[in-house]
């Protein structure tokens, strides 16, 4: 990889981290409403899968994948406005967090119903296939969400038609409080791919190099019409399920162990081994991301709050005659 790319990837890891940290801080200060789901610690997954995508590829992020929005091209200012529930959010305040996607950048907004995006991603990939477009759909989901029927129905269909979709399971070992051993009876969610007729891979989700290599293979395969891949990224969320969750169901030791595998620190070690001036890069990047997030927050704060009657907009594309009703 070029130095430029090395630095760029570092930038993204840090930008996400800064974004997440700022949101958590604002949530603590009572500045945010609704649920806040920090993806801190999982940045390498979203960076690794989204960085090399094309503009017209599509991603289907999970509730923790704020990073995927950023890397795929969503304007940080609009994303922040969305988290504030403001009019400049992608959802125009109709919903917060990641429920409003940025469709112009190929980012789909999920409902809360876990894994409900997977059938949607499969349908979109079906369109790429029948129209012979070499585009891919990347569907993220948690290891907890893997238990839902929609996952099965989508993967099965993707297997039948060898669709250009990559299923990315972010296994962070907990679904809210529920540990993997109460979620499924196997070690790896990726083992299920064989039952659908495609490849499953397990990767260290904190290792950006590993994630990128696996992502590249899977995406290439999809683009070439060789079918789906299920990639399971083992990773960890530092925070609780949401900012309200104290996460007493896990040990401090466990958290520390994972913090020692921090994707950003690992990347700094790599930059060091490449003999870059890491100190300088770190400072410079910190400054850049701080500015970007400051800017986003300022924008979001300045964005108007939607007014009541706006609630009645955007329900129908071909509006219905409300007079008649």
């Amino acid at each position: 990889m070029t130095e430029q790319k090395d630095r760029e990837l570092y930038y993204w890891l840090r930008l996400i981290r800064e974004f997440e940290d700022r949101i958590s801080a604002m949530d603590k200060q009572g500045k945010l409403m609704g649920g806040v789901y920090s993806g801190k610690g999982q940045e390498a997954v979203t960076v690794g899968f989204c960085h090399d995508l094309r503009w017209d590829d599509w991603i289907f992020p999970l509730h923790r994948d704020l990073g995927a929005f950023l890397v795929k091209g969503a304007d940080p200012r609009r994303l922040m406005a969305q988290i504030f529930g403001k009019r400049d959010g992608f959802a125009k305040g109709k919903d917060s967090y990641l429920h409003g996607g940025d469709l112009g950048n190929g980012i789909f907004g999920a409902t809360s119903m876990l894994a409900a995006t997977l059938p949607v991603a499969a349908g979109m990939a079906f369109k790429f296939k029948i129209r012979k477009e070499d585009r891919v759909a990347i569907a993220f989901f948690g290891e907890g969400a893997s238990s839902r029927g929609d996952v099965h129905e989508a993967m099965n269909f993707a297997g039948v038609h060898k669709l250009p979709v990559v299923f990315v399971c972010e296994n962070n070992f907990y679904a809210y409080s529920t540990p993997n051993e109460l979620q499924f009876g196997v070690d790896n969610v990726a083992d299920r791919a064989a039952g659908y007729g495609f490849k499953g891979e397990v990767v260290n989700g904190n290792d950006l190099h590993a994630v990128m290599a696996t992502a590249r293979k899977a995406i290439d395969r999809a683009r070439k019409g060789e079918g789906p891949t299920l990639v399971e990224c083992k990773t960890y969320r530092y925070h609780g399920h949401s900012e309200h969750d104290r996460a007493d169901y896990r040990t401090e030791e466990e958290v520390i162990t994972w913090e020692s595998r921090d994707p950003m620190i690992l990347w700094e070690v790599y930059l060091e081994k490449k003999k870059y001036d890491v100190e300088a890069i770190r400072n410079e990047t910190a400054e850049r991301v701080r500015k970007a997030v400051d800017d986003a927050v300022a924008f979001a704060e300045g964005s108007p709050a939607p007014e009541g009657p706006e609630a009645m907009e955007d329900l129908y594309a071909m509006p219905i005659d409300t007079e008649a009703r």
């Binding site: 992608f90 940025d102 059938p119 949607v120 979109m124 029948i130 989508a154 129908y316």
Partner: protein, 324 residues
């Protein structure tokens, strides 16, 4: 052109697929078999397996994938082999599809049609007789149509396919081959949102849709000497054509709502409630309703008949209201 109700649906799908290559049909057995009721007979041969897609038995996937196609500008028609199985894809309809545009602040439309055979009277039992339209009536973002004639079946299917919002299209399987009708050979569309005044009358309005329309029309003819009935066939259930309903009730002063779906919590409840409020001053008698009794639709004929509205019950209800 003399066509059955089911052939009218087939023609509409065929013509729309011919007109617009973004229209695709997804469902179980819609291709090789041409559909369990043959409603898509011939379409696989004509449009190929990329556009007439035999799906795995996965209703949630069928609807969810339709949303993905729609975001890409396709216009999928999604078949439920029986409408009863819509319960298996429920979340994808009420949350994924119905909120798609809303949660994206208007960035996208969601032009999908979900269709399938509904209704009883054919000894289908508990899971092949359902009329689940009321569930969706409570969900903003959706549109609902329920044609009762071959003409409307064709025209509303075309409107549904061309509509940019999710439309649930309730076919009535009892009518599939029981009605045969002359329809124009040239292209026509029946607009979503407009009821049909099937018969003018001055004494009493019957507001109905789907298969009971025919029993109501027969009652209106048979009872012509007794009472002058006005018959409104809603055709579209969401949005309701309240203009038509109000105008009729203001004229006649009496309203009876008839549908095959269960009475409690049916769409008739909303219509009755609106009439009761909006036409309070105009009413010469209580707003009455006739829907199915409060049971599932059972298999054995006498029980099925007991539960569902029929000619006799319709006449009785009209007499009661007329006598008020």
């Amino acid at each position: 052109m003399l066509v059955t109700y089911i052939e009218a649906i087939r023609q509409a799908m065929d013509e729309e697929m011919d007109r617009d290559k973004n229209v695709v049909l997804l469902g179980e057995d819609v291709g090789l078999l041409g559909g369990a009721f043959k409603v898509s007979a011939g379409l696989l041969d004509k449009y190929g397996p990329d556009r007439v897609v035999d799906m795995p038995i996965s209703e949630s996937l069928i609807i969810g994938s339709g949303v993905g196609l729609a975001v890409q500008g396709m216009r999928p028609i999604l078949e439920m082999q029986f409408i009863d199985f819509i319960s298996c894809g429920f979340d994808q309809i009420v949350n994924s599809a119905a909120t798609l545009r809303y949660r994206h602040g208007g960035q996208t439309a969601c032009p999908i049609v979900i269709r399938g055979p509904s209704g009883g009277g054919v000894h289908g039992g508990l899971y092949h007789s359902q009329n689940p339209e009321a569930w969706f009536f409570h969900v903003p973002g959706l549109k609902i149509v329920a044609p009762s004639t071959a003409y409307d079946a064709k025209g509303l299917m075309k409107a549904a396919v061309r509509d940019d919002d999710p439309v649930i299209y309730f076919e009535n399987k009892f009518l599939y081959r029981r009605i045969k009708e002359e329809i124009p050979p040239e292209e026509f569309v029946v607009p979503i949102g407009k009821a049909a005044l099937r018969k003018e009358g001055g004494d009493l309005s019957v507001i109905t849709y789907g298969s009971p329309v025919h029993a109501v029309m027969k009652a209106a003819r048979d009872m012509a000497k007794e009472v002058d009935i006005e018959v409104i066939d809603l055709r579209t259930l969401l949005p309701l054509d309240m203009n038509a309903i109000r105008a009729s009730v203001r004229k006649t002063g009496k309203a009876l709502i008839v549908h095959e779906a269960r009475q409690t919590g049916g769409i008739g409840a909303e219509i009755a409630a609106r009439i009761a409020q909006e036409c309070f001053e105009d009413l010469d008698g209580p707003v009455m309703r006739l829907g199915a009794r409060e049971a599932h639709t059972p298999f054995a004929p006498a029980m099925e008949d007991y539960v569902l509205p029929n000619q006799e019950k319709i006449i009785e209800a009209i007499r009661t209201l007329a006598a008020y």
